[in-house]
């Protein structure tokens, strides 16, 4: 707190237009702090109630800003704000792949937050938020892609939870056919995020990684995406569209996929943990009939994987209320708030101790069961590609989208992508 205030004063002085009140030495006194919350699922309400509780306790005010739904749109918004050195939003909710992109605009929390507060989080996530020795964000919740399935339908047709993507394809097809024959004409086998946006990068990375096809760009910076295993994975995914997945899946983001699954029109769904709490809500048509498992592997010997996601809270360097903003970020990422988030919104904690908390495990059993999935999730190549990550991801999702929509073969699409990424990386140097 104190350290944060020491940081805040020179920062505040640097702004000629700063109101006098900020300079009065009363840490975090009656400041108005604005926070950008997520808008997917019930996260917005969760964030607002958490922030308002903090405001009440500290006597400050909060202004909750809602952001676009798609993460790449949020990033564009932040980049515009921060490039203009705007302090309009004090606390920013940032994706796990953004610290490298935004670091220079964010407050170093290593000096502003006590070490024991930082050390209660998973070390790898703290590591992911550390850029050049500066801690630029506090972990809020972590994510990994999961397979949601209809327990009742698998039981009805005597199927077990698919262990490979091939098994999933087969099971989805046969259950879809049987259900349609039984008069359920709207039933589809599998829904996922197929729109050309960051979500498709996450989905496709899971397919490719589960087949052993690498992570687009390897940690040394070499472009590895043009390989037969990656092509095999994408080819299988392309075969889903219009057979076990609706044609509209090519324009589905998280919420569209959840809409189809939760209304009972899909057997399987790939989504993030947040979908669990909503599928178990009182008004959910599939309440009590949903199971969660790790995503299938790519064939015999393939690995079960999920893309590492998750959100962090960062403090804007151009904020006029750095001290209060840091305090709010610490409050929201603390054990009490993370526990509430896990119970009410099934957002995965970043604090290991909460994975053994009986109340958390009761509300979202998979959080304990899939501990390994969360701790071994595959990371997108954001560290090595640094400030080109956005462009790499965009080229990747466009290439995959072309293959899914049948405008190019997976092989041709990946070959073209390989060429583009090599040029972009100046042959692996980034």
């Amino acid at each position: 707190m104190r350290a944060a205030f020491r940081l805040a004063v020179p920062l505040a002085v640097a702004f000629a237009s700063v109101p006098l009140g900020v300079l009065v030495p009363r840490p975090a006194a009656a400041a108005t702090v604005s926070i950008a919350c997520g808008s997917v699922g019930i996260e917005f309400d969760l964030c607002r109630s958490g922030a308002e509780a903090w405001a009440k306790r500290t006597g400050n005010e909060v202004r909750v800003v809602s952001t676009p739904k798609e993460s790449n749109e949020i990033l564009a918004l932040y980049q515009q704000l921060l490039s203009a050195k705007s302090g309009d939003i004090d606390v920013l909710r940032i994706d796990v792949v953004w610290p490298g992109l935004l670091a220079q605009h964010l407050v170093d929390l290593r000096t502003a937050v006590p070490k024991e507060v930082v050390d209660q989080h998973f070390a790898p996530i703290v590591q992911a938020n550390t850029v050049g020795g500066r801690l630029v964000a506090l972990p809020w919740f972590t994510d990994a892609g999961l397979l949601y399935y209809r327990k009742d339908l698998l039981e009805k047709y005597g199927r077990k939870v698919p262990a490979t993507w091939q098994e999933l394809t087969e099971a989805a097809r046969s259950i879809q056919e049987a259900e349609r024959k039984a008069g359920n004409g709207k039933m589809w086998g599998f829904v996922f995020q197929g729109r050309a946006y960051e979500g498709l990068t996450c989905n496709a990375l899971e397919w490719v990684d589960s087949f052993g096809g690498g992570t687009i760009v390897d940690p040394s910076g070499k472009v590895t995406i043009d390989n037969p295993k990656a092509a095999e994975a994408i080819r299988l995914a392309a075969s889903w569209v219009k057979t076990i997945s609706p044609p509209g899946v090519l324009n589905y983001a998280e919420e569209e996929a959840r809409g189809a699954f939760q209304s009972g029109s899909a057997v399987f769904m790939r989504n993030w943990p947040y979908a669990w709490a909503l599928s178990q809500a009182e008004d959910s048509p599939v309440k009590g009939r949903v199971g969660v498992a790790p995503l299938p592997g790519g064939g015999a010997g393939g690995k079960h994987t999920g893309t590492l996601g998750g959100w962090q809270l960062a403090v804007n360097r151009y904020s006029k209320n750095v001290a209060a903003a840091v305090d709010l970020a610490v409050h929201l990422t603390g054990p009490a708030e993370q526990k509430r988030a896990a119970i009410t919104a099934s957002l995965n904690p970043t604090i290991p101790a909460l994975y053994k908390d009986p109340e958390v495990l009761k509300a979202a059993p998979f959080i304990g069961e899939l501990y390994d999935t969360f701790t071994n999730a595959v990371a997108r190549p954001s560290r090595v590609t640094a400030d080109r990550y956005n462009q790499v991801s965009s080229e990747f999702w466009n290439a995959v989208h072309d293959a899914l929509s049948g405008r190019a073969t997976p092989e041709a699409s990946l070959k073209a992508l390989d060429g583009k990424l090599r040029r972009l990386s100046r042959d692996g140097k980034w």
């Binding site: 564009a76 220079q104 090519l250 809409g259 462009q391």
Partner: protein, 299 residues
């Protein structure tokens, strides 16, 4: 001109003084950003580190020329401009001719026609987005009921349909503008000409082709030029309807994605500069062609 009287010279000086403030403001708000963009097009500047950049010559333009996504954006923009402006001109003309006839309730009709033009583009684009939706969109429901399609279409997601969806919304929105400009021209036409033609026994179609159209052509051309310039730099419609999708991205959407999403100020500026050149060339051609035609008419 050479032997200007002292009075004329004085008046010219006064005119310059009056125009000067406006020129200064224009230079600050339009000239300076434009020059800066053109300058950045020759650098490797990135949005996060604008201050530190170096000159790279024509590198960005060479890369642009070899970028299939860029040429796709150019093609989409030209296609969008040609089709939407053509449809808007024809439909606008038809509506204007109808409104020009002495119908009961004409004033009300005129106001009603203007509604799409009055709605901000972002709002109407989002409205259409919902109507286009493949799951709950009203358009699919209507077309299915009429038997025009047999399965719901993903209008804005399907790359083959998306550009036409964008064009359809633009036509819906901008036709009233064309209708209004055309109507203004129609109402200035002297009634005697039409009366004389009718007495001579000319058919209505002949009257339209031989009298009405030639007389309103100058006004119509101005409207077409304005619309074309507008359409060439279209951004909001494709962006709201289809995001950064490379099958519908216009040149402006392409430039914004490079500038902001990819932080590539150098490359994005090269794209912006090219867009500026296209519009400048188009304007020059129209003005020259217009002058030639006017002189031809005068001779």
């Amino acid at each position: 001109m050479a032997a200007a009287s002292p009075l004329l010279r004085q008046r010219r000086r006064a005119a310059v003084l009056f125009v000067l403030p406006m020129l200064l403001v224009l230079a600050a708000v339009a000239g300076w950003p434009l020059l800066r963009t053109i300058y950045f097009a020759f650098t490797d500047a990135r949005l996060s580190t604008l201050e530190t950049h170096r000159l790279v010559g024509l590198e960005n333009f060479v890369a642009l020329a070899a970028d299939p996504d860029w040429w796709r954006a150019v093609r989409s923009t030209l296609l969008f401009t040609a089709i939407s402006v053509a449809l808007e001109t024809v439909l606008g003309l038809v509506i204007a001719l109808t409104l020009n006839a002495h119908l009961p309730g004409r004033g009300l009709l005129r106001a009603a026609v203007l509604v799409p033009w009055a709605i901000p583009t972002v709002v109407s684009a989002q409205m259409w987005n919902w109507m286009f939706n493949d799951l709950y969109g009203v358009l699919n429901a209507m077309f299915l009921a009429l038997g025009l399609i047999d399965v719901p279409r993903a209008w804005t997601a399907d790359p083959d349909l998306a550009l036409f969806a964008v064009i359809a919304v633009d036509v819906w929105k901008t036709t009233p503008f064309m209708a209004l400009l055309t109507l203004a021209a129609l109402q200035l036409l002297p009634a005697e000409l039409h009366e004389a033609a009718r007495i001579d026994g000319a058919s209505p179609l002949r009257v339209f082709w031989r009298i009405t159209l030639p007389l309103i052509r100058p006004a119509l051309m101005v409207a077409v030029v304005f619309r074309t310039l507008d359409a060439l730099r279209v951004f909001d419609l494709p962006y709201v309807l289809t995001g950064n999708s490379r099958y519908t991205a216009s040149m402006a959407v392409f430039a914004r994605q490079r500038l902001v999403d990819f932080q590539d100020v150098g490359y994005g500026s090269a794209a912006s500069t090219f867009l500026f050149l296209v519009i400048a060339v188009f304007t020059a051609i129209t003005f020259t062609a217009g002058r030639v035609r006017l002189q031809g008419a005068g001779a």
